[in-house]
Amino acid sequence: MLYALKIAGRYLTASKAQTALLIVGVAVGVFIFIFMSALIGGLAEFILSRTVGDISHITIEAEIDDPAVLISPNDLDGGHVLFVTERGRDRTATLSDAATWLPLIEAVPGVRAVSPQITGAGFLTRGAQVSQVSVTGLEPGKESAILDLEGYMVAGTVRLGSGLIVLGNRLTDDLALSLGQTLRLQSSNGVTATLTLSGIFDTGNGGMDGARAFVSLSTARTLFAMPQGVTQIEIKLDDLNAADTTALRISGLTGLDAVPWTDGAEQLMEALNAQAQTGYFLKTFALITIVIGVASALLLSTYRRRPEIGIMRAMGASRGFVVFVFVTQGAMIGLMGGVTGAALGYLALLPFPSRDAFQAGTLPLDITQGSYGLAIALTLIGAILASILPARSAARVDPVTAIGQ
Protein backbone atom coordinates (compact mmCIF):
# COMPACT_ATOMS: atom_id res chain seq x y z
CA MET A 1 0.00 0.00 0.00
CA LEU A 2 2.85 2.33 -0.84
CA TYR A 3 0.58 4.40 -3.01
CA ALA A 4 -1.93 4.95 -0.20
CA LEU A 5 0.99 6.09 1.97
CA LYS A 6 2.02 8.56 -0.70
CA ILE A 7 -1.49 9.99 -0.98
CA ALA A 8 -1.82 10.24 2.80
CA GLY A 9 1.50 12.06 2.96
CA ARG A 10 0.50 14.34 0.10
CA TYR A 11 -2.76 15.25 1.82
CA LEU A 12 -0.89 16.13 4.98
CA THR A 13 1.72 18.23 3.21
CA ALA A 14 -0.92 19.92 1.03
CA SER A 15 -2.29 21.75 4.07
CA LYS A 16 0.94 22.43 5.89
CA ALA A 17 -0.41 24.95 8.39
CA GLN A 18 -3.40 22.80 9.29
CA THR A 19 -1.25 19.69 9.63
CA ALA A 20 1.34 21.52 11.69
CA LEU A 21 -1.38 22.82 13.99
CA LEU A 22 -2.79 19.33 14.36
CA ILE A 23 0.63 17.87 15.13
CA VAL A 24 1.28 20.61 17.67
CA GLY A 25 -2.08 19.84 19.29
CA VAL A 26 -1.20 16.16 19.56
CA ALA A 27 2.31 17.03 20.75
CA VAL A 28 0.89 19.20 23.53
CA GLY A 29 -1.29 16.29 24.64
CA VAL A 30 1.72 13.96 24.63
CA PHE A 31 3.79 16.59 26.44
CA ILE A 32 1.14 16.74 29.19
CA PHE A 33 1.09 12.94 29.33
CA ILE A 34 4.86 12.79 29.72
CA PHE A 35 4.99 15.69 32.17
CA MET A 36 2.32 14.05 34.32
CA SER A 37 4.12 10.69 34.17
CA ALA A 38 7.39 12.32 35.25
CA LEU A 39 5.66 14.34 37.96
CA ILE A 40 3.55 11.53 39.42
CA GLY A 41 6.44 9.07 39.19
CA GLY A 42 8.91 11.60 40.58
CA LEU A 43 6.55 12.59 43.37
CA ALA A 44 6.10 8.96 44.38
CA GLU A 45 9.85 8.50 44.24
CA PHE A 46 10.38 11.63 46.33
CA ILE A 47 7.81 10.63 48.93
CA LEU A 48 9.21 7.11 49.16
CA SER A 49 12.79 8.32 49.42
CA ARG A 50 11.78 10.76 52.16
CA THR A 51 9.70 8.24 54.07
CA VAL A 52 11.31 4.88 53.49
CA GLY A 53 14.57 5.81 51.81
CA ASP A 54 16.43 5.78 55.10
CA ILE A 55 14.78 2.80 56.64
CA SER A 56 15.34 -0.86 56.17
CA HIS A 57 13.50 -2.29 53.17
CA ILE A 58 13.38 -5.73 54.75
CA THR A 59 13.89 -6.45 58.42
CA ILE A 60 14.52 -9.78 60.08
CA GLU A 61 13.89 -9.69 63.78
CA ALA A 62 14.38 -12.38 66.37
CA GLU A 63 11.09 -13.74 67.58
CA ILE A 64 10.45 -13.40 71.29
CA ASP A 65 9.24 -16.69 72.68
CA ASP A 66 6.27 -16.49 74.97
CA PRO A 67 6.86 -17.84 78.47
CA ALA A 68 6.02 -21.49 78.94
CA VAL A 69 2.56 -22.34 80.20
CA LEU A 70 2.06 -25.62 81.93
CA ILE A 71 -1.40 -27.15 81.70
CA SER A 72 -2.73 -30.02 83.76
CA PRO A 73 -2.31 -33.22 81.69
CA ASN A 74 -5.51 -34.66 83.18
CA ASP A 75 -7.83 -31.95 82.04
CA LEU A 76 -6.75 -30.72 78.64
CA ASP A 77 -10.22 -29.41 77.79
CA GLY A 78 -10.55 -27.44 80.96
CA GLY A 79 -7.04 -26.08 80.71
CA HIS A 80 -6.16 -25.67 84.36
CA VAL A 81 -3.00 -23.61 84.49
CA LEU A 82 -0.58 -25.07 86.93
CA PHE A 83 2.43 -22.85 86.40
CA VAL A 84 3.32 -19.76 84.37
CA THR A 85 6.75 -18.38 83.74
CA GLU A 86 6.75 -14.60 84.09
CA ARG A 87 8.47 -12.62 81.34
CA GLY A 88 11.93 -11.67 82.36
CA ARG A 89 13.31 -8.20 82.56
CA ASP A 90 15.31 -8.78 79.41
CA ARG A 91 13.00 -9.39 76.47
CA THR A 92 15.78 -9.22 73.94
CA ALA A 93 15.56 -12.12 71.54
CA THR A 94 18.59 -13.21 69.61
CA LEU A 95 19.26 -14.24 66.02
CA SER A 96 22.01 -16.49 67.21
CA ASP A 97 22.77 -17.93 63.75
CA ALA A 98 22.99 -14.56 62.02
CA ALA A 99 26.53 -15.18 60.90
CA THR A 100 25.31 -18.20 58.94
CA TRP A 101 22.53 -16.36 57.16
CA LEU A 102 24.34 -13.15 56.26
CA PRO A 103 26.29 -14.50 53.23
CA LEU A 104 23.14 -16.18 51.93
CA ILE A 105 21.10 -12.99 52.22
CA GLU A 106 23.86 -10.92 50.64
CA ALA A 107 23.80 -13.24 47.63
CA VAL A 108 20.08 -12.71 46.96
CA PRO A 109 19.62 -10.68 43.73
CA GLY A 110 18.57 -7.10 44.36
CA VAL A 111 20.06 -6.94 47.85
CA ARG A 112 22.28 -3.88 48.08
CA ALA A 113 23.36 -4.03 51.72
CA VAL A 114 22.88 -6.18 54.80
CA SER A 115 23.36 -4.76 58.27
CA PRO A 116 23.35 -7.00 61.35
CA GLN A 117 22.42 -4.95 64.38
CA ILE A 118 21.98 -5.14 68.14
CA THR A 119 19.34 -2.77 69.41
CA GLY A 120 18.10 -1.87 72.81
CA ALA A 121 17.23 0.93 75.19
CA GLY A 122 19.52 2.88 77.43
CA PHE A 123 20.13 6.04 79.42
CA LEU A 124 22.70 8.61 78.46
CA THR A 125 24.20 10.51 81.34
CA ARG A 126 26.22 13.69 81.15
CA GLY A 127 26.87 15.19 84.53
CA ALA A 128 23.50 15.49 86.19
CA GLN A 129 21.58 15.30 82.93
CA VAL A 130 20.01 12.02 81.85
CA SER A 131 18.36 11.25 78.54
CA GLN A 132 16.67 8.08 77.39
CA VAL A 133 17.98 6.80 74.08
CA SER A 134 17.46 4.01 71.65
CA VAL A 135 20.78 2.34 71.09
CA THR A 136 21.78 0.69 67.83
CA GLY A 137 24.95 -1.29 67.49
CA LEU A 138 26.29 -1.29 63.94
CA GLU A 139 29.04 -3.22 62.28
CA PRO A 140 32.03 -0.91 61.68
CA GLY A 141 32.24 -0.15 57.98
CA LYS A 142 28.49 -0.60 57.55
CA GLU A 143 27.42 2.52 59.44
CA SER A 144 25.68 3.94 56.36
CA ALA A 145 24.37 0.69 54.91
CA ILE A 146 20.73 1.44 55.78
CA LEU A 147 20.47 5.01 57.08
CA ASP A 148 22.82 7.31 55.22
CA LEU A 149 24.52 8.40 58.41
CA GLU A 150 27.57 9.63 56.58
CA GLY A 151 25.41 11.94 54.50
CA TYR A 152 23.81 13.41 57.60
CA MET A 153 27.00 14.00 59.57
CA VAL A 154 27.44 17.61 60.63
CA ALA A 155 30.47 17.11 62.86
CA GLY A 156 33.09 14.43 63.44
CA THR A 157 33.13 11.10 61.74
CA VAL A 158 30.59 8.36 61.27
CA ARG A 159 33.22 5.71 61.79
CA LEU A 160 32.29 3.67 64.86
CA GLY A 161 34.87 1.92 66.98
CA SER A 162 35.33 0.61 70.44
CA GLY A 163 34.41 3.24 73.01
CA LEU A 164 32.91 5.65 70.47
CA ILE A 165 29.35 6.92 70.13
CA VAL A 166 27.57 8.94 67.42
CA LEU A 167 24.55 11.05 68.43
CA GLY A 168 22.02 13.35 66.82
CA ASN A 169 22.43 17.11 67.03
CA ARG A 170 19.25 17.61 69.03
CA LEU A 171 20.51 15.25 71.73
CA THR A 172 23.95 16.82 71.83
CA ASP A 173 22.32 20.24 72.14
CA ASP A 174 20.10 19.05 75.01
CA LEU A 175 23.05 17.59 76.85
CA ALA A 176 25.40 20.41 75.79
CA LEU A 177 27.80 17.87 74.32
CA SER A 178 30.60 18.56 71.86
CA LEU A 179 32.91 16.29 69.92
CA GLY A 180 35.50 14.46 71.96
CA GLN A 181 33.62 14.71 75.24
CA THR A 182 32.91 11.58 77.25
CA LEU A 183 29.55 10.42 78.58
CA ARG A 184 28.05 7.39 80.21
CA LEU A 185 25.59 5.05 78.57
CA GLN A 186 23.68 2.61 80.74
CA SER A 187 21.81 -0.13 78.92
CA SER A 188 18.49 -1.65 79.92
CA ASN A 189 20.52 -4.65 81.05
CA GLY A 190 22.20 -2.45 83.65
CA VAL A 191 25.59 -2.45 81.97
CA THR A 192 27.30 0.93 81.86
CA ALA A 193 29.96 2.04 79.40
CA THR A 194 31.93 5.28 79.17
CA LEU A 195 32.00 6.46 75.58
CA THR A 196 33.52 9.32 73.62
CA LEU A 197 31.35 11.39 71.26
CA SER A 198 32.96 10.92 67.85
CA GLY A 199 30.27 12.25 65.52
CA ILE A 200 27.09 14.30 65.37
CA PHE A 201 24.39 13.84 62.72
CA ASP A 202 21.38 15.86 61.66
CA THR A 203 18.73 13.93 59.72
CA GLY A 204 16.01 16.53 60.16
CA ASN A 205 13.92 13.88 61.91
CA GLY A 206 13.34 15.06 65.50
CA GLY A 207 12.82 11.61 66.94
CA MET A 208 15.97 10.31 65.34
CA ASP A 209 18.13 13.34 66.15
CA GLY A 210 16.95 13.55 69.74
CA ALA A 211 16.83 9.94 70.87
CA ARG A 212 19.09 7.69 68.82
CA ALA A 213 22.58 6.61 69.72
CA PHE A 214 24.84 4.61 67.43
CA VAL A 215 27.66 2.51 68.79
CA SER A 216 29.78 -0.26 67.35
CA LEU A 217 28.44 -3.81 67.35
CA SER A 218 31.10 -4.87 69.84
CA THR A 219 30.13 -2.07 72.24
CA ALA A 220 26.48 -3.08 71.91
CA ARG A 221 27.40 -6.70 72.71
CA THR A 222 28.90 -5.53 75.97
CA LEU A 223 26.03 -3.20 76.78
CA PHE A 224 23.32 -5.76 76.13
CA ALA A 225 25.25 -8.78 77.34
CA MET A 226 25.01 -10.51 74.03
CA PRO A 227 28.25 -12.34 73.31
CA GLN A 228 26.98 -13.72 70.02
CA GLY A 229 24.19 -13.19 67.51
CA VAL A 230 22.25 -10.00 66.78
CA THR A 231 18.75 -8.75 67.51
CA GLN A 232 17.89 -7.86 63.97
CA ILE A 233 19.16 -7.84 60.43
CA GLU A 234 18.28 -4.86 58.25
CA ILE A 235 18.40 -5.20 54.48
CA LYS A 236 18.53 -2.50 51.83
CA LEU A 237 17.44 -3.27 48.28
CA ASP A 238 18.29 -1.75 44.92
CA ASP A 239 14.56 -1.38 44.26
CA LEU A 240 12.39 -0.78 47.27
CA ASN A 241 9.35 -1.77 45.25
CA ALA A 242 10.74 -5.31 45.13
CA ALA A 243 10.61 -5.61 48.93
CA ASP A 244 7.62 -7.97 49.05
CA THR A 245 9.00 -10.51 46.60
CA THR A 246 12.55 -10.32 47.95
CA ALA A 247 11.29 -10.75 51.52
CA LEU A 248 9.45 -13.89 50.46
CA ARG A 249 12.56 -15.15 48.77
CA ILE A 250 14.71 -14.52 51.85
CA SER A 251 12.14 -16.18 54.08
CA GLY A 252 12.10 -19.19 51.80
CA LEU A 253 15.87 -19.30 51.75
CA THR A 254 16.54 -18.89 55.45
CA GLY A 255 13.32 -19.83 57.19
CA LEU A 256 13.50 -16.51 59.05
CA ASP A 257 10.61 -14.07 59.23
CA ALA A 258 11.64 -11.38 56.76
CA VAL A 259 9.28 -8.41 56.96
CA PRO A 260 9.12 -5.97 54.01
CA TRP A 261 8.73 -2.26 54.64
CA THR A 262 5.28 -2.35 53.05
CA ASP A 263 3.95 -4.28 56.09
CA GLY A 264 2.39 -1.61 58.22
CA ALA A 265 2.73 1.02 55.51
CA GLU A 266 -0.78 0.55 54.13
CA GLN A 267 -1.70 4.21 54.50
CA LEU A 268 1.37 5.31 52.60
CA MET A 269 0.69 2.76 49.88
CA GLU A 270 -2.94 3.90 49.67
CA ALA A 271 -1.83 7.51 49.32
CA LEU A 272 0.64 6.58 46.60
CA ASN A 273 -2.00 4.52 44.80
CA ALA A 274 -4.45 7.41 44.98
CA GLN A 275 -1.79 9.67 43.54
CA ALA A 276 -1.09 7.19 40.76
CA GLN A 277 -4.82 6.93 40.01
CA THR A 278 -5.00 10.71 39.71
CA GLY A 279 -2.11 10.54 37.27
CA TYR A 280 -3.89 7.88 35.21
CA PHE A 281 -7.01 10.06 35.02
CA LEU A 282 -5.05 13.09 33.88
CA LYS A 283 -3.14 11.06 31.31
CA THR A 284 -6.36 9.47 30.07
CA PHE A 285 -7.92 12.90 29.61
CA ALA A 286 -4.83 13.99 27.65
CA LEU A 287 -5.24 10.95 25.40
CA ILE A 288 -8.96 11.56 24.96
CA THR A 289 -8.18 15.13 23.92
CA ILE A 290 -5.72 13.81 21.34
CA VAL A 291 -8.25 11.31 19.97
CA ILE A 292 -11.00 13.92 19.71
CA GLY A 293 -8.62 16.41 18.08
CA VAL A 294 -7.40 13.94 15.47
CA ALA A 295 -10.91 12.61 14.78
CA SER A 296 -12.43 16.05 14.30
CA ALA A 297 -9.58 17.25 12.07
CA LEU A 298 -9.81 14.15 9.89
CA LEU A 299 -13.59 14.39 9.73
CA LEU A 300 -13.22 17.94 8.46
CA SER A 301 -10.62 16.76 5.98
CA THR A 302 -12.95 13.98 4.84
CA TYR A 303 -15.74 16.46 4.29
CA ARG A 304 -13.47 18.87 2.44
CA ARG A 305 -12.11 16.13 0.21
CA ARG A 306 -15.40 14.45 -0.63
CA PRO A 307 -15.19 15.36 -4.36
CA GLU A 308 -11.65 13.97 -4.54
CA ILE A 309 -12.71 10.80 -2.78
CA GLY A 310 -15.52 10.49 -5.30
CA ILE A 311 -13.05 10.88 -8.18
CA MET A 312 -10.74 8.27 -6.66
CA ARG A 313 -13.62 5.84 -6.28
CA ALA A 314 -14.70 6.49 -9.88
CA MET A 315 -11.13 5.84 -11.07
CA GLY A 316 -11.07 2.45 -9.39
CA ALA A 317 -10.00 3.09 -5.81
CA SER A 318 -11.62 0.55 -3.51
CA ARG A 319 -13.28 1.44 -0.23
CA GLY A 320 -10.39 -0.29 1.55
CA PHE A 321 -7.92 1.96 -0.25
CA VAL A 322 -9.80 5.08 0.89
CA VAL A 323 -9.95 3.77 4.47
CA PHE A 324 -6.20 3.08 4.37
CA VAL A 325 -5.43 6.60 3.13
CA PHE A 326 -7.29 8.24 6.01
CA VAL A 327 -6.14 5.79 8.69
CA THR A 328 -2.57 6.33 7.49
CA GLN A 329 -3.06 10.07 7.86
CA GLY A 330 -4.20 9.52 11.42
CA ALA A 331 -1.23 7.25 12.10
CA MET A 332 1.20 9.78 10.61
CA ILE A 333 -0.26 12.60 12.71
CA GLY A 334 -0.16 10.41 15.80
CA LEU A 335 3.42 9.33 15.18
CA MET A 336 4.72 12.81 14.37
CA GLY A 337 2.78 14.42 17.22
CA GLY A 338 3.84 11.65 19.57
CA VAL A 339 7.53 11.88 18.73
CA THR A 340 7.45 15.69 18.80
CA GLY A 341 5.63 15.74 22.14
CA ALA A 342 7.96 13.12 23.60
CA ALA A 343 11.02 15.06 22.43
CA LEU A 344 9.61 18.31 23.85
CA GLY A 345 8.75 16.56 27.09
CA TYR A 346 12.24 15.14 27.38
CA LEU A 347 13.84 18.52 26.67
CA ALA A 348 11.55 20.26 29.16
CA LEU A 349 12.46 17.74 31.87
CA LEU A 350 16.22 17.96 31.27
CA PRO A 351 16.82 21.04 33.49
CA PHE A 352 15.22 19.38 36.52
CA PRO A 353 17.48 17.54 38.98
CA SER A 354 17.70 13.76 38.68
CA ARG A 355 15.78 11.50 41.05
CA ASP A 356 18.87 11.09 43.21
CA ALA A 357 19.15 14.83 43.68
CA PHE A 358 15.56 15.78 44.48
CA GLN A 359 15.41 18.70 46.88
CA ALA A 360 12.61 20.05 49.02
CA GLY A 361 10.91 23.05 47.44
CA THR A 362 11.45 21.98 43.85
CA LEU A 363 9.17 19.97 41.58
CA PRO A 364 10.26 16.33 41.85
CA LEU A 365 10.13 15.60 38.11
CA ASP A 366 11.77 12.32 37.27
CA ILE A 367 12.98 12.37 33.66
CA THR A 368 13.39 8.60 33.71
CA GLN A 369 9.66 8.13 34.37
CA GLY A 370 8.41 10.09 31.37
CA SER A 371 6.93 6.93 29.78
CA TYR A 372 8.09 8.20 26.37
CA GLY A 373 7.64 4.94 24.48
CA LEU A 374 4.25 4.34 26.07
CA ALA A 375 3.16 7.90 25.27
CA ILE A 376 4.15 7.52 21.61
CA ALA A 377 2.57 4.07 21.33
CA LEU A 378 -0.70 5.12 22.98
CA THR A 379 -0.85 8.27 20.85
CA LEU A 380 -0.27 6.24 17.71
CA ILE A 381 -2.97 3.75 18.67
CA GLY A 382 -5.32 6.56 19.73
CA ALA A 383 -4.77 8.47 16.48
CA ILE A 384 -5.40 5.32 14.42
CA LEU A 385 -8.59 4.61 16.36
CA ALA A 386 -9.60 8.26 15.98
CA SER A 387 -9.15 8.05 12.21
CA ILE A 388 -11.33 4.98 11.77
CA LEU A 389 -14.61 6.90 11.97
CA PRO A 390 -13.54 9.56 9.41
CA ALA A 391 -12.00 6.85 7.23
CA ARG A 392 -15.20 4.82 7.23
CA SER A 393 -17.13 7.98 6.48
CA ALA A 394 -14.78 8.67 3.55
CA ALA A 395 -15.17 5.13 2.24
CA ARG A 396 -18.94 5.52 2.24
CA VAL A 397 -18.80 8.64 0.07
CA ASP A 398 -21.08 8.18 -2.94
CA PRO A 399 -18.93 8.99 -5.99
CA VAL A 400 -21.91 10.25 -7.98
CA THR A 401 -22.97 12.74 -5.31
CA ALA A 402 -19.39 13.72 -4.48
CA ILE A 403 -18.38 14.36 -8.09
CA GLY A 404 -21.48 16.45 -8.57
CA GLN A 405 -20.53 18.75 -5.66
Partner: protein
Protein backbone atom coordinates in the same frame (compact mmCIF):
# COMPACT_ATOMS: atom_id res chain seq x y z
CA UNK B 1 -29.09 -11.74 -22.09
CA UNK B 2 -26.63 -12.53 -24.89
CA UNK B 3 -24.52 -9.68 -26.14
CA UNK B 4 -24.27 -9.38 -29.91
CA UNK B 5 -21.00 -10.23 -31.64
CA UNK B 6 -19.65 -6.73 -32.21
CA UNK B 7 -21.35 -5.01 -29.29
CA UNK B 8 -19.25 -3.68 -26.44
CA UNK B 9 -22.21 -3.20 -24.16
CA UNK B 10 -25.93 -3.63 -24.12
CA UNK B 11 -28.49 -2.29 -21.71
CA UNK B 12 -32.15 -3.05 -21.89
CA UNK B 13 -35.25 -1.91 -20.08
CA UNK B 14 -33.26 0.30 -17.74
CA UNK B 15 -35.41 1.93 -15.13
CA UNK B 16 -34.05 4.33 -12.55
CA UNK B 17 -36.28 5.86 -9.92
CA UNK B 18 -35.06 8.31 -7.32
CA UNK B 19 -36.96 8.60 -4.06
CA UNK B 20 -40.05 6.72 -3.03
CA UNK B 21 -43.77 7.27 -2.67
CA UNK B 22 -45.15 10.64 -3.66
CA UNK B 23 -41.73 12.13 -4.24
CA UNK B 24 -40.51 9.26 -6.45
CA UNK B 25 -38.99 10.52 -9.69
CA UNK B 26 -38.61 8.10 -12.57
CA UNK B 27 -35.65 9.32 -14.60
CA UNK B 28 -35.13 6.30 -16.87
CA UNK B 29 -38.24 4.55 -18.09
CA UNK B 30 -37.15 1.33 -19.76
CA UNK B 31 -34.20 2.60 -21.74
CA UNK B 32 -32.41 0.18 -24.06
CA UNK B 33 -29.14 0.82 -25.80
CA UNK B 34 -26.30 -0.98 -27.50
CA UNK B 35 -22.83 0.32 -28.25
CA UNK B 36 -20.47 -1.39 -30.65
CA UNK B 37 -16.75 -1.65 -30.14
CA UNK B 38 -14.94 1.36 -31.57
CA UNK B 39 -18.04 3.50 -31.77
CA UNK B 40 -18.02 7.21 -31.14
CA UNK B 41 -21.50 8.23 -30.12
CA UNK B 42 -23.03 11.45 -28.90
CA UNK B 43 -25.74 11.43 -26.29
CA UNK B 44 -28.13 14.30 -26.83
CA UNK B 45 -31.15 15.50 -24.95
CA UNK B 46 -32.51 18.30 -22.85
CA UNK B 47 -31.54 18.82 -19.24
CA UNK B 48 -33.28 16.32 -16.98
CA UNK B 49 -33.78 13.83 -19.80
CA UNK B 50 -31.64 11.23 -17.99
CA UNK B 51 -28.34 11.57 -19.90
CA UNK B 52 -26.18 11.93 -16.81
CA UNK B 53 -28.05 9.17 -14.98
CA UNK B 54 -27.50 6.85 -17.95
CA UNK B 55 -23.77 7.66 -18.04
CA UNK B 56 -23.54 7.06 -14.29
CA UNK B 57 -25.16 3.65 -14.64
CA UNK B 58 -23.00 2.76 -17.64
CA UNK B 59 -19.97 3.83 -15.60
CA UNK B 60 -21.04 1.38 -12.86
CA UNK B 61 -21.16 4.21 -10.34
CA UNK B 62 -24.85 3.60 -9.78
CA UNK B 63 -27.17 0.64 -10.21
CA UNK B 64 -30.51 0.93 -11.99
CA UNK B 65 -33.77 0.20 -10.24
CA UNK B 66 -34.36 -2.52 -12.80
CA UNK B 67 -33.12 -3.64 -16.19
CA UNK B 68 -30.01 -5.39 -17.44
CA UNK B 69 -26.53 -4.22 -18.25
CA UNK B 70 -23.93 -6.40 -19.88
CA UNK B 71 -20.49 -5.30 -20.96
CA UNK B 72 -17.65 -7.48 -22.17
CA UNK B 73 -19.79 -10.53 -21.40
CA UNK B 74 -20.16 -9.56 -17.77
CA UNK B 75 -23.44 -9.01 -15.99
CA UNK B 76 -22.75 -5.75 -14.23
CA UNK B 77 -26.06 -5.67 -12.40
CA UNK B 78 -25.17 -8.80 -10.48
CA UNK B 79 -21.62 -7.68 -9.68
CA UNK B 80 -20.84 -6.47 -6.16
CA UNK B 81 -19.08 -3.23 -5.26
CA UNK B 82 -15.59 -4.70 -5.26
CA UNK B 83 -16.08 -6.37 -8.63
CA UNK B 84 -17.47 -3.16 -10.10
CA UNK B 85 -14.53 -1.16 -8.72
CA UNK B 86 -12.05 -3.46 -10.46
CA UNK B 87 -14.11 -3.55 -13.65
CA UNK B 88 -14.40 0.22 -13.74
CA UNK B 89 -10.68 0.62 -13.21
CA UNK B 90 -9.78 -1.73 -16.07
CA UNK B 91 -12.44 -1.11 -18.66
CA UNK B 92 -14.06 2.30 -18.23
CA UNK B 93 -12.61 5.80 -18.40
CA UNK B 94 -14.37 8.98 -17.33
CA UNK B 95 -14.12 12.54 -18.53
CA UNK B 96 -16.25 14.99 -16.55
CA UNK B 97 -17.44 18.47 -17.39
CA UNK B 98 -15.36 19.93 -14.58
CA UNK B 99 -12.13 17.96 -15.22
CA UNK B 100 -12.17 16.75 -11.55
CA UNK B 101 -8.43 16.43 -11.26
CA UNK B 102 -6.88 15.74 -7.87
CA UNK B 103 -5.71 19.22 -6.83
CA UNK B 104 -2.71 18.16 -4.75
CA UNK B 105 -1.17 16.16 -7.59
CA UNK B 106 0.78 17.04 -10.71
CA UNK B 107 -0.54 16.44 -14.22
CA UNK B 108 1.46 13.21 -14.51
CA UNK B 109 0.38 11.97 -11.07
CA UNK B 110 -3.25 12.57 -12.01
CA UNK B 111 -2.86 10.67 -15.26
CA UNK B 112 -1.24 7.60 -13.72
CA UNK B 113 -3.66 7.43 -10.77
CA UNK B 114 -5.88 4.66 -12.24
CA UNK B 115 -2.86 2.41 -12.76
CA UNK B 116 -1.13 3.28 -9.50
CA UNK B 117 -4.24 2.64 -7.44
CA UNK B 118 -4.54 -0.79 -9.03
CA UNK B 119 -0.84 -1.67 -8.69
CA UNK B 120 -0.48 -0.17 -5.23
CA UNK B 121 2.48 1.95 -6.34
CA UNK B 122 3.67 4.18 -9.15
CA UNK B 123 5.66 1.96 -11.49
CA UNK B 124 8.12 3.32 -14.03
CA UNK B 125 6.07 1.69 -16.80
CA UNK B 126 3.04 3.66 -15.62
CA UNK B 127 5.05 6.87 -15.55
CA UNK B 128 6.27 6.21 -19.10
CA UNK B 129 2.74 5.62 -20.37
CA UNK B 130 1.49 8.67 -18.50
CA UNK B 131 4.18 10.84 -20.08
CA UNK B 132 3.38 9.45 -23.54
CA UNK B 133 -0.30 10.25 -23.09
CA UNK B 134 0.46 13.79 -21.93
CA UNK B 135 2.79 14.32 -24.89
CA UNK B 136 0.06 13.07 -27.14
CA UNK B 137 -2.31 15.59 -25.56
CA UNK B 138 0.21 18.31 -26.34
CA UNK B 139 1.13 18.80 -22.70
CA UNK B 140 4.83 17.85 -22.79
CA UNK B 141 5.66 21.19 -21.13
CA UNK B 142 3.17 20.60 -18.33
CA UNK B 143 3.95 17.05 -17.28
CA UNK B 144 5.11 17.90 -13.77
CA UNK B 145 2.94 20.99 -13.32
CA UNK B 146 0.63 21.08 -10.31
CA UNK B 147 -2.83 20.44 -11.72
CA UNK B 148 -4.15 23.62 -10.11
CA UNK B 149 -1.79 25.72 -12.25
CA UNK B 150 -3.07 24.37 -15.56
CA UNK B 151 -5.58 26.23 -17.75
CA UNK B 152 -9.10 24.87 -18.18
CA UNK B 153 -8.31 23.31 -21.56
CA UNK B 154 -5.10 21.79 -20.27
CA UNK B 155 -6.91 20.32 -17.27
CA UNK B 156 -9.49 18.72 -19.53
CA UNK B 157 -6.77 17.22 -21.72
CA UNK B 158 -5.12 15.81 -18.60
CA UNK B 159 -8.53 14.35 -17.69
CA UNK B 160 -8.74 12.71 -21.12
CA UNK B 161 -5.25 11.28 -20.70
CA UNK B 162 -6.25 9.92 -17.26
CA UNK B 163 -9.35 8.31 -18.75
CA UNK B 164 -7.15 6.51 -21.29
CA UNK B 165 -4.43 5.47 -18.86
CA UNK B 166 -5.54 1.86 -18.35
CA UNK B 167 -6.48 1.43 -22.02
CA UNK B 168 -10.22 1.11 -21.35
CA UNK B 169 -12.62 -0.21 -23.95
CA UNK B 170 -15.15 2.51 -23.08
CA UNK B 171 -14.75 6.19 -22.25
CA UNK B 172 -17.76 8.03 -20.90
CA UNK B 173 -17.58 11.79 -21.32
CA UNK B 174 -20.17 13.98 -19.63
CA UNK B 175 -20.16 17.41 -21.30
CA UNK B 176 -16.36 17.25 -21.75
CA UNK B 177 -16.28 20.58 -23.51
CA UNK B 178 -19.09 22.24 -21.61
CA UNK B 179 -16.73 24.31 -19.54
CA UNK B 180 -14.21 25.18 -22.27
CA UNK B 181 -13.84 27.98 -24.79
CA UNK B 182 -14.40 27.14 -28.43
CA UNK B 183 -10.71 26.62 -29.26
CA UNK B 184 -10.06 24.37 -26.30
CA UNK B 185 -13.26 22.45 -26.98
CA UNK B 186 -12.18 21.79 -30.58
CA UNK B 187 -8.75 20.67 -29.42
CA UNK B 188 -10.21 18.20 -26.90
CA UNK B 189 -12.67 16.81 -29.42
CA UNK B 190 -9.91 16.40 -32.04
CA UNK B 191 -7.91 14.36 -29.55
CA UNK B 192 -10.90 12.21 -28.66
CA UNK B 193 -11.60 11.58 -32.33
CA UNK B 194 -7.98 10.72 -33.00
CA UNK B 195 -7.86 8.19 -30.14
CA UNK B 196 -11.13 6.67 -31.28
CA UNK B 197 -9.82 6.20 -34.78
CA UNK B 198 -6.33 5.01 -33.88
CA UNK B 199 -7.03 2.84 -30.86
CA UNK B 200 -10.62 1.81 -31.40
CA UNK B 201 -11.67 3.07 -27.99
CA UNK B 202 -15.43 3.45 -27.71
CA UNK B 203 -16.61 6.92 -26.69
CA UNK B 204 -20.04 7.93 -25.48
CA UNK B 205 -20.18 11.69 -25.19
CA UNK B 206 -23.02 13.49 -23.49
CA UNK B 207 -23.46 16.99 -24.90
CA UNK B 208 -25.89 19.81 -25.54
CA UNK B 209 -23.72 21.13 -28.34
CA UNK B 210 -24.95 20.14 -31.82
CA UNK B 211 -21.52 20.87 -33.29
CA UNK B 212 -19.82 18.51 -30.86
CA UNK B 213 -22.49 15.90 -31.55
CA UNK B 214 -21.83 16.38 -35.26
CA UNK B 215 -18.27 15.23 -34.80
CA UNK B 216 -19.56 11.84 -33.65
CA UNK B 217 -20.56 9.15 -36.10
CA UNK B 218 -23.72 8.26 -34.15
CA UNK B 219 -26.18 10.43 -32.28
CA UNK B 220 -28.44 9.05 -29.60
CA UNK B 221 -31.24 11.25 -28.36
CA UNK B 222 -32.60 10.67 -24.88
CA UNK B 223 -35.98 12.05 -24.05
CA UNK B 224 -38.43 11.25 -21.29
CA UNK B 225 -36.21 8.47 -19.96
CA UNK B 226 -35.76 6.48 -23.17
CA UNK B 227 -33.67 6.64 -26.34
CA UNK B 228 -35.87 8.35 -28.84
CA UNK B 229 -33.57 8.51 -31.79
Amino acid sequence: MTISQSALLEVSDLVKTFGTGDVATRVLRGLSLSLAKGEMAALLGPSGSGKSTLLTILGTLMKPTSGSYNMLDQDLIAADDNQLTVFRNLHIGFVFQFHNLLPDFTALENVIFPTAVRMGRETSAARDRGRDLLVRMGLEERINFPSTKLSGGQKQRVAVARALMNGPELVLADEPTGNLDRASASQVMELIGQINREEGTTFLISTHDEKIAGLCRRQLVVGDGIVTG
